[in-house]
Amino acid sequence: MPVLSTQLLVIGGGSTGLGVAWDACLRGLKVVLVEQGDLGQGTSGRYHGLLHSGGRYVISDPTSACDCAVENRVLRQIVPHTIEDTGGLFLATPTDPIDFPDRWFAACQELGVSAEEITTAEALRLEPALNPRISRVFRVQDGSLDSFDLLHTLTAEIKRAGGQVWLRHRVEKLILNGNTIVAAEIRALDTDELLTIGADFFVNATGPWAGQVASLADIKVPIALGKGSMVAMATRPIHTVINRCRPSSDGDIIVPVGTVAVLGTTDVEVQQPTDTTIEPWEVDFLLAQGEILVPQLAYQRPLRAWAGVRPLYRPTTGELGETRELPRSQIILDHADRDGLQGLISVFSGKLTIFRLMAEQVMDLVCKQMNIAAVCHTAETPLTMTSRSFYKLPDRLAKLEVTTSHDLPQVVCECELVTRLAIEEALRFASTLDLDEVRRELRLGMGPCQAGFCAFRAAGIAHELAPTAPASGGLTPFLEERWRGMVPLGWGHTLRQMELTRRIYLELLQTHSLPEPTK
């Protein structure tokens, strides 16, 4: 069994884990990060895309609200290209508690969350699709943040700084020497090979899997899993983040992110981190709540539904409240203090917006325990990126504009405007035939037809690059994943699209009789 050693082993390739690894790299530590799936396959890739202004939590969780307000400004400096500066609105409708907006506004001012009241007429000028019956409107500094872009940028930066990111590697065992963790046994899922990594310190940043990973060292983590479902609309009826100004509850947000608008969210307690089944009531509820804020949603096309699992902290003592009522602030458990186990910190809960702060706090603690004097530099170090300006919706289309017919780009995914060149680059870079991975990087197949027209084209390109692999490589799982998101919305527009896709693949191309993709 091959043995490697490093200073820090981070488990989990979501925003927290990558944030920790990046912070550690900047502090000069040798880092390896392992992730059982792909980047952001857990909670980070399954969120609504909101860069919080803090407004959502001023009443229920003031600490989170302050952290969000600060980190919102930091992220705008260090990763502007992943952020769309949409701005946000908090809307009160006539059916919402009448005293709430004033309480909410006062709390914003007290906590330093920037908010200003505007007239409903002004709000309707800005966003004509809003319900004209709204009673009060506040403007906040929300944005939308593409987590895949963020995770890819972080990964590139970690690798550039000499850190390692291993995808499809699962930790199967934590090896103890006395009361100190010294190594982890890891399975490479692609080759089924086992290897051991020795490290001075371990960070468990596995989100909803934090309990399972901790149990490898026989520790219990007080975690509760809150599943949140979301529905993406195929087009953006609004271009500003829309929040409902009322006490936190289900279905109170619409986020324009990329080419879609996401309606979020529900909160249902589940037992397993993989339990992302969407109940029909959740879809109905989200659409109905969305219509209250933006009435024209009733006529528009829901694109797909998905769910993420929030890893929340529920103290073992006290009442067993609903997951909706549990705090959202970050939890950092020092197992040396808590369980007498040296060399392991678990971090979970929190928001994607404050991932950098969470990483900073984790690394401060790690450095203290390792007696390293390095300080955090992530807040003032912009990540390398192609663009130093905010993401803008029209950019992708503008890039495809040509003036002569000689330089025509071959557009493979026509909904999300992904070119052949981009797909080839992504396939080469990731050395994979897995189209779902290309999707996460390029948004391939994430538009209205949900890969109906680009999956076979992309599979053809993948086959050209690796002619010995079967053309089905990744095609079926890619389509299955798209299909999974459409099934909960299988009526009207979406059903028509599904039926066309079904006929293309099952009847015309006979994909069900393709050979199984090899690993």
């Binding site: 087009t235 271009h239 919706l393 289309l397 495809l400 017919s405 405007l417 209205p448 037809c449 527009h493």
Partner: protein, 409 residues
Amino acid sequence: MNLPLFTTDLCLKCNICTAACPVAAVTDLFPGPKFVGPQAERYRHPRLSMPDVSVDWCSGCGICSRVCPHGVAVAEINILAKGRLTKERHTPLRDQLIAHPELLGRIASPIAPVANTSIHLRPARWLLEKTIGISRHAPIPTFTRIPLRKRFRDRCFDTPLDIKHDIDHTVAFFHGCSSNYYEPELGEQTIAILERLGYEVVIPPQICCGLPLQSNGLFDAARRHAQANITWLAPFAKQGIPIVGTSTSCTLMLKHDYRTILGIRGEDVETIATSTYDFFEFLTIFVKNEINRIKFNSLHARALYHPPCKLRNHGIGAPALSILRQIPELQLHLSESECCGAGGTYGMKLEKFPVAYEVGQGLFNQISQLELDFVICDSETCRWWIAKHTGLPVYHPLEIMARAMDIQP
């Protein structure tokens, strides 16, 4: 949100519109109606500038909207985008000029002989091409010295209240720019045919329908024209007087574009929309029996009928055909092309001309193979275009009808 934009969600990406698009078939510079329409629309942010200019290659024929099996108003989405584009960018003088056929007519008709001679001179066309970009190969119509309205002063009424005769058998003639300034003979024959069939024809006040402005993206001006026409025509329509036009594009504006594309709302525009008829649509609905009783003269000729895009967009079939088919000895061939390429003012533009000509190639070939005496087509810009590129005379179907009814031009 404008109504057509709602239909972007209906697009299943099937590409049927792209396959049917005559422009995308001949140039790669136009990425196709789906691409610039329902797809590009998802990337157009209302508060940021338009990211794409390729929608400008759309000729506005409307085939995409017609063939869409899912109800996406593709052409409408595209013309709205063009309007936004024009608003955000500088409009070339050329587009301003060709978008105002009425203004040109008003200026040139008093000096028609001079204007016609000089504008058709080769050096003049060369100069127009070099200075403002009007292709010297594109047809330019000839101005008339005496516009239709001057020829029929007694039939011009400002309001329906001035009409003294029985309005039950009265139609209001929307002559458009072409019948007034360029082809007044057509207007004369229209009036003659309608009167022969027992109708009184009144000419309500009107200006250019606004289509050339709209096609060139000049929406504000188009809307002003529309409003003026609505104010003038509504009283006639409300009296139950049908509005009849011989230009299929003008009547389509009144029926459809004023509401759907220019976004005008209200009772007046609705009444006008439901009271407007294409000339042959009117005849086949209201005077079917009378027409069946007419004994048309024989017309020994070989002709091809090309229903123009704008007529097809009415969704009324090709009503002229049933009448043309009653003319003895007229050998009628049908066009196998969806579009002649002219696209109103599209083919006049220097950069668009080669594309427009290429689109028309199929029709021109069919015409040259058939050894015809003449071609028949309802739309004026298509007639001028086809005549220029085939060398054959091209008539409005009503001219053929008039000839078979012994009505002299």
